[in-house]
Every structure is written in structure tokens, then in C-alpha cells.
Symmetry: C2
Subunit: 252 residues, 2 copies
């Protein structure tokens, strides 16, 4: 039997508000559309609904920009209050040019605008990334187990840009029960070579696979990956495996 | 009905040799495993079998390294003949440090070792990337149409590293009948905001989705994506859409 798996979008999840139980909403919506969650499913969950449920929202009217944020906002042609929020989420500015602000967040992500977004939130409000997306993933996984008895994997995902290539891709910013990396080190190819330098970013590829049915405009914030290979499942965290140590990074 | 699609690995494709018809081999193998190719399938094809069929192989014994390649190989701790091959495929060295050689290829890809690889080829031989992967994809697509009458999409894919994050991901280096990018510009989110800066790299996400069933060690060089959304299908090329113009790139 050839290896195969399926990706299914979860429709009908209502607008999420602070304090909502994301797992409860996902389970109900998946059941309603006839694809109830079961053991060994992977849930890929867009960061935005997790951030909203966790109350990671900031009203720009409540933000007083610092002089630095104001100066940067002028240079970038952006709202100074938004730049202030981005800088508060950041540990370092990596690039600032052509209207683009790329930072290293306190989590260690290098991305545009520290992941702070205005789409899919109320006007005048911005959403921050979850404070600890690995923890968010674990909590979601635990809640699914409590409600259904089923052991699932969870990926919290967001769309990030990348150097050199146009277009965003969905990537994992938090995982529970999913392997961020799959190593082929020490295994052999069919010709008998030992495979070297071959470590695949499984969770990122799963996040991208899920994005294809999620869609920003269609209101589908969650996808189910059904038929996962056991090699994709493992206790781990994005933070310990995915972020490349600065000392080993050639593009800082 | 929720959006859904399936990813199926194609097993049983024999070792590919120069001059082989890749489309013929894929069709036969897919049929043999009971998942015969049909209209609107997407085929994600690992670069290596395309390179082999196109004869993009170099025997290291035939390579005389230049003094520059020899000096760089010493600094990197690598085979000077391999470095010579990499430099011939390159337009520019982007980074050279910690044993890693990252270049811009003549195609415009920024990647390690110009995509030159020793795995899954005979000992003493290395495989280059296809000369023009968009063309390779078009030829493969045309051949499938000739043999079956079915109109399919084709992605030629390779695993590339990226800055800041550990692990390789599979990405599109050539397409035919598949959209490299899906733009949401001008569309609205459920809250009524106009979506901005939201262009998804659909072909790269599809390549990653396929990699999960392909696997370097398992000898599965092709995957079928079945149930593609029409928005993923469009006449285009990777070269014109995916490579970010140097003038707009902040990480050169």
C-alpha cells in the first residue's frame, strides 16, 4: 500500500473571543461537518484564533508610541502605534527597509512585524502571536484528550515570509505530539549511500499542507491531517528544535 | 462540503537512467499500485529523477578543479572536484562559512551547494539541478497528456534549507499548470478588512505536502496530490513568479 494522507479544512468555526475554548470549538465544528476528530489526527490551527482566545489583542487607541517608534514609523510610512506594538514584541530589528520591518521576536522568530497583524481582528485592534505557542499546542492537545479520549497531534501555525522567494508559507510556531524535524542521518539511500545533512522540517511541511485548505478569506482557521505517518509524531517543541542557534546561522 | 485533498506516494519507480521517460515510469507505477493518474491530479516530482533522466550527471573523476575551487575546498573541508562542480553551477557565492557553501545558481536559486548532490546517484557521480525545471515540468505534463489524455499539473521539487530555521523543506523549482503564488490582494477577511501583503506560495506548500510521503530513504520520488482546488492551477512558471528580484530582497 502506498503511503497516503488527507487534509481536511474545518468550516463553521465562529468568531473567537478572549476566553473561548478553541479545542471545544474545533471539535464541535469538525463533528458538525461529518469529520469528527479521532485518534492520531493532526490538528493544524492558525495562530490567530489561538491568540484571540488567549486575549493577545491590543487596541491601538491604548498605545502611546515612544519617540523611537515614531521615528521608525515615519521612515516606514506606518502607524506609529503599530510600530510601538511590534517593537515591544521584539528583541532585535533584523532589517528595516522598503516599508518592511523584520525583527527577531522574544520567542526567537525572525519575521515581518513580529507577527503582529490587523487582518481578521476588529478594526483598531491588532493580534500578537501567542506568548508560548508550544504551550498553547499542549493545552489544546490536552483538552482534546479530556473531551474525547483521543490522542491527537497539534501544530500552531502562522504564515511567514522568507528571503529570496516570493510568497508566504505556513509554518509551525508551536507543536504538541508532532515532530518538528525528521532526521535521516545514518539511514541509506537505495544506492547505498549514507544520507547526510538530511533533516526535514516535517511540522513546517504539515503546516504548509494545511494552509492549502485554510485560506485567509474563507474563514477556515483549522485543518485536520488524517493518516499521519508515525514518524511525524513525537513529543517535542518547536522552540527547542526549529530555531537555529544564532552561532550557527549565516544570515543574521 | 469542507475543502479536502489527498496526497499519495508513488512506489515502485525503478532506478532512472539518462534518456528514460519519467512520465512513462510514473504512469506505470501509479497504475500498478492502483492509483492511476487522472485529470486534475498534481504530480510532485523530485528533482533527482528528472536530473538523471536528462543526463545532468557529472563524474567527479572527470573534473579538474581550478585553483579557486581547490582553495575553497580546503577552507570548507570538502572535495575540490565537488566544489568545482558547484562553482560551475553558480553565479555568485552568497555565504561560505562553517563548512557550508551557499550560492546563487545560474537559475537564480539561493541554496547550499548549488543543489549539487551525491545521494541517490552512483558513487563518484553527482547530480546537478535540471537546466530549466519549468521546461522539464512542461515536458512531463505534455507527455502525460499525450499518453493518457489527462490534463495534470506538475511540480518539480527539491529540498532546500533556509535561514533561521532548522531542517530542509521541499519547494518548487519548476511548475507546469500549477500556480506558484495565490494572491488574496483585494479580497476581504470575515471582519471586512481588505487583505494586504497576503500572497501564499502555493506551489511550495504543495511540494512540502508531497515530501511527507516521498522520503529520501524509501525510494518514493513522486507524489500525487488529488483533489486540487482550482485556485492552485494556472499557467505560469516558477522562474517568473517565485524568485524575488534582487532589488527587493533584504537578505542578499
Amino acid at each position: 500500500m502506498p503511503p497516503r494522507y488527507e487534509v481536511i479544512g474545518v468550516e463553521g468555526i465562529r468568531e473567537v473571543r478572549p476566553g473561548d475554548g478553541v479545542a471545544d470549538l474545533i471539535l464541535a465544528a469538525a463533528e458538525a461537518q461529518g469529520t469528527a476528530i479521532r485518534a492520531d489526527d493532526l490538528l493544524v490551527v492558525g495562530q490567530k484564533i489561538v491568540s484571540k482566545a488567549e486575549g493577545r489583542l491590543v487596541r491601538l487607541a491604548d498605545v502611546t508610541p515612544s519617540p523611537v517608534a515614531t521615528a521608525m514609523a515615519t521612515a516606514l510610512g506606518r502607524d506609529a502605534r503599530l510600530v510601538e506594538v511590534i517593537l515591544r514584541e521584539s528583541r532585535r530589528v533584523v532589517r528595516m527597509d522598503k516599508g518592511v520591518l523584520i525583527v527577531e521576536t522574544h520567542h526567537g522568530w525572525i519575521c515581518a512585524n513580529a507577527g503582529v497583524e490587523q487582518s481578521n481582528v476588529d478594526l483598531g485592534t491588532v493580534a500578537l502571536l501567542p506568548a508560548d505557542s508550544d504551550r498553547s499546542a499542549r493545552q489544546l492537545r490536552d483538552r482534546v484528550r479530556t473531551l474525547t479520549g483521543a490522542d491527537v497531534g497539534v501544530i500552531i501555525a502562522d504564515t511567514f515570509g522568507r528571503p529570496w522567494r516570493e510568497g508566504l508559507t505556513n509554518i509551525a510556531i508551536g507543536v504538541a505530539g508532532v515532530a518538528p524535524l525528521r532526521s535521516y542521518l545514518g539511514e541509506h539511500d537505495p544506492a547505498g549511500h549514507t544520507l547526510q545533512a538530511t533533516i526535514l522540517a516535517v511540522a513546517d511541511e504539515l503546516a504548509g499542507a494545511a494552509e492549502l485548505v485554510m485560506g485567509k478569506a474563507t474563514g477556515i482557521p483549522v485543518a485536520i491531517v488524517r493518516g499521519a505517518d508515525p514518524s511525524w509524531l513525537r513529543e517535542s517543541s518547536v522552540r527547542t528544535e526549529i530555531i537555529r542557534p544564532p552561532s550557527e546561522d549565516l544570515f543574521r
